[in-house]
């Protein structure tokens, strides 16, 4: 024992770093860990995998991207941009945009809309924010045995009205019926194609420091409406879904402002999720100002009561735009010129640092991170 002790080399004097530097070392280590490819650990699908947050991203990267990997899919934008024969010819479209989306909203009917107009607007908007002019839609229905025909009629009529408003036609479709209990009334899948004009190249990876970030109107209306419409919370508020087609708004913006870098519709995961996608794809930081973000008082109040953050709540008729800083005022004016953008606002800017992170200057005057959520926002208990 004594021998062993004697042969032990004297302990190397450890330089004790000041607290700030030690913390920075830990933060750097965490950033390295976060950049690693996410690993899918679960053995079964949980509800978190469908919430649009980190769990969804991990699932898509680990399963779908892994299986289908190709250059058209890899950007993981809202719509794929397909090169066409003869594309780029003078006056012609540069590419075709293709997208698909499934709708499982519960309840099927809610203030401001129903699953039908949601299914049309959702796909129209995915095309619009890719810079495409939406043209044709497909519609697939999965119906549960016993579902009232009257409800289906209402849904189909809403789809027709929404398609008319967006200037698209539903040109093909599919119907399946499953046994009672195997589905929740009615699920709808829509796919859409549109044409992208030459010179339009939108993508979150295009963002660069100095750009400004805009939203086209108050955020969180749809998500809060749905939460309240489920009737489980005994809260009533005068709020409606914002479901609307954004194609006209986008066309006006792209026509007026050449320096639009990226557009996204802020659906599942809300504005916060989109800003994180910008920060990650473009290797930039995004800094937003809480008191510049438009949120209706009813939505803020309900979110406050429920312990959730409107930044993560879904919208169905709002877009986030990243625009060349010098053209931000023009972009704001172009958005506000359309009724759907009347309450548009500049909410933040793209910064060089901290890379990959979204930060917010709170109305209170502090700074914090706005990270991706793991799954659905969970209410706090007290």
């Amino acid at each position: 024992m004594t021998q062993q002790l004697a042969s032990t080399p004297p302990p190397r004097p450890r330089r004790v770093l000041p607290t700030g530097e030690r913390e920075q070392q830990v933060l750097d280590r965490i950033e390295r860990a976060r950049r690693r490819r996410p690993k899918l650990r679960e053995e079964r699908i949980t509800m978190s995998h469908g919430a649009g947050g980190k769990a969804t991203h991990t699932l898509i990267e680990a399963i779908f991207l892994d299986a289908f990997r190709n250059p058209l899919l890899e950007p993981l934008e809202d719509a794929a941009r397909l090169p066409m024969n003869g594309a780029g010819e003078a006056g012609g479209a540069a590419a075709v945009a293709l997208t698909t989306d499934s709708f499982v909203v519960s309840p099927l009917f809610f203030p401001g809309g129903n699953i039908g107009d949601l299914a049309v607007n959702g796909t129209v908007n995915d095309l619009a924010v890719a810079g495409a002019t939406p043209l044709y839609l497909s519609a697939g229905f999965i119906l549960e045995e016993g579902f009232p025909i009257a409800d289906l009629t209402r849904i189909a009529e809403s789809m027709r009205d929404a398609a008319d408003a967006a200037g698209v036609a539903v040109v093909t479709g599919d119907t399946k019926v499953v046994e009672r209990g195997k589905a929740d009334g009615c699920y709808i899948n829509t796919a859409g194609v549109g044409t992208v004009a030459a010179g339009v190249d939108l993508g979150v990876a295009n963002a660069r420091p100095g750009d400004k970030v805009l939203v086209s109107g108050p955020i969180g209306d749809h998500g809060v409406t749905i939460m309240l419409a489920r009737g489980e919370l005994d809260i009533e508020a005068d709020v409606e879904s914002d479901t609307a087609p954004l194609a006209e708004l986008v066309a006006g913006l792209l026509g007026a402002v050449p320096g639009v870098r990226a557009l996204r519709d802020a659906t599942r995961g809300g504005v916060a999720t989109i800003l994180n996608e910008v920060a990650k794809a473009a290797d930039v930081g995004v800094l937003i100002a809480e008191n510049a973000i438009p949120v209706r008082d009813q939505v803020r109040g309900a979110a406050e009561l429920l312990g959730i953050d409107p930044l993560y709540v879904a919208c169905e008729g709002r877009l986030v735009a990243v625009v060349d800083g010098d053209q931000a005022a023009q972009a704001l004016a172009a958005l506000r010129a359309h009724p759907l953008g009347a309450q548009a606002a500049i909410i933040g800017e793209v910064t060089a640092e901290p890379v990959g992170l979204v930060t917010i200057k709170t109305a209170f005057g502090g700074t914090r991170i706005v990270d991706l959520l793991v799954g659905d926002p969970l209410p706090r208990i007290c």
Binding site: R29, G285, L306, R336, F364, G365, T367, I369, R380
Partner: protein
Amino acid sequence: MRFVDEFRDADKAHALAARIAALCEPGRQYKLMEVCGGHTHTIYKHGLEDYLPECITLVHGPGCPVCVIPMGRVDDAIHLASQPDVVMTSFGDMMRVPGSNGAFFDANARGTTIKMVYSPLDSLKIAKANPDKRVVFMAIGFETTAPSTAMTVLRARAQGIKNFSVFCNHVTIIPAIKAILDSPDLRLDGFIGPGHVSTVIGCRPYEFIARSYGKPVVVAGFEPLDILQSIYMLMLQLHEGRSEVENQYSRVVPWNGNPVALKAIGETMELRPYFEWRGLGFISHSALKMRGAYADFDAELLFEVPGVRVADPKACQCGEVLKGVLKPWECKVFGTACTPETPIGTCMVSPEGACAAYYNYGRLSRQRVPEAISIEPSRP
């Protein structure tokens, strides 16, 4: 928004911050513990630490009800939920808390029905609507949530509802604070008292902290200005050499608490001899169970509960974090092995947990964030 924005006023915050800074004695370090997880959440969500001078450190205490639930209790709950015809309900925070074999979300993926509710009364509604199911409410929380569980049980009895029971995991705050005060590796200068708990128990139960341990306590509200003001009140006490219990949250907290709520708890629940706290170990008389008179609503008697104790994962230092000995980032697995996606310890699960709050909101190198943002509020 009225009644909210007044408590988030940046100008008032600057003024308070200046008064706090003026009370700092040169060369002295101050460690103040906010006991309640709700405070931790507010502090990070609003970036409140940006207002504090470097000599003041906020230590995040054990008052996150989800964070103190040991893994064995999560396993017990999943076991209960796996019984035939059982529908379990609990608060949203619980859904991602890891047991030894996954969390509630994972259990649901394997076939259990564990639903998220906002209030125990919602569980009662589910029980009434599904008479063929046995609805078990997993009750968690401090004295804040215990009264609503108690009222629900009283209502269930009054309405003769037979298919409703409670898996009681309510804990009490005072024994936990005492355990922290008695822990040898700790140096705290004062406490930001838990506002919500105090609406029920009042301010009197904290008097021993000021009297016997000589530490000032200020019971605080949950808006950022509330917390900043209570830090000012604590600093003023320290500056003047006082140690008293003061009530910053007097717009909500009565000095003697809420006798109706306390009576409902006392009617339906009694103290357990001991209860295991995650990271803190067994603390005597620190939790509640259903009284014998309400045995027919006690899931622990109606069902067989395995009650197997599961040791905390070795790498997890939740205990040190809960006691405020370690800052979240000082834990060995923080942010690398233990993240909100794959939490090892419960401090990483709830948004009120010190680690999750720091990871989600505070994991920020202040030097790298631009000081000002060149955005004028552009609300039309």
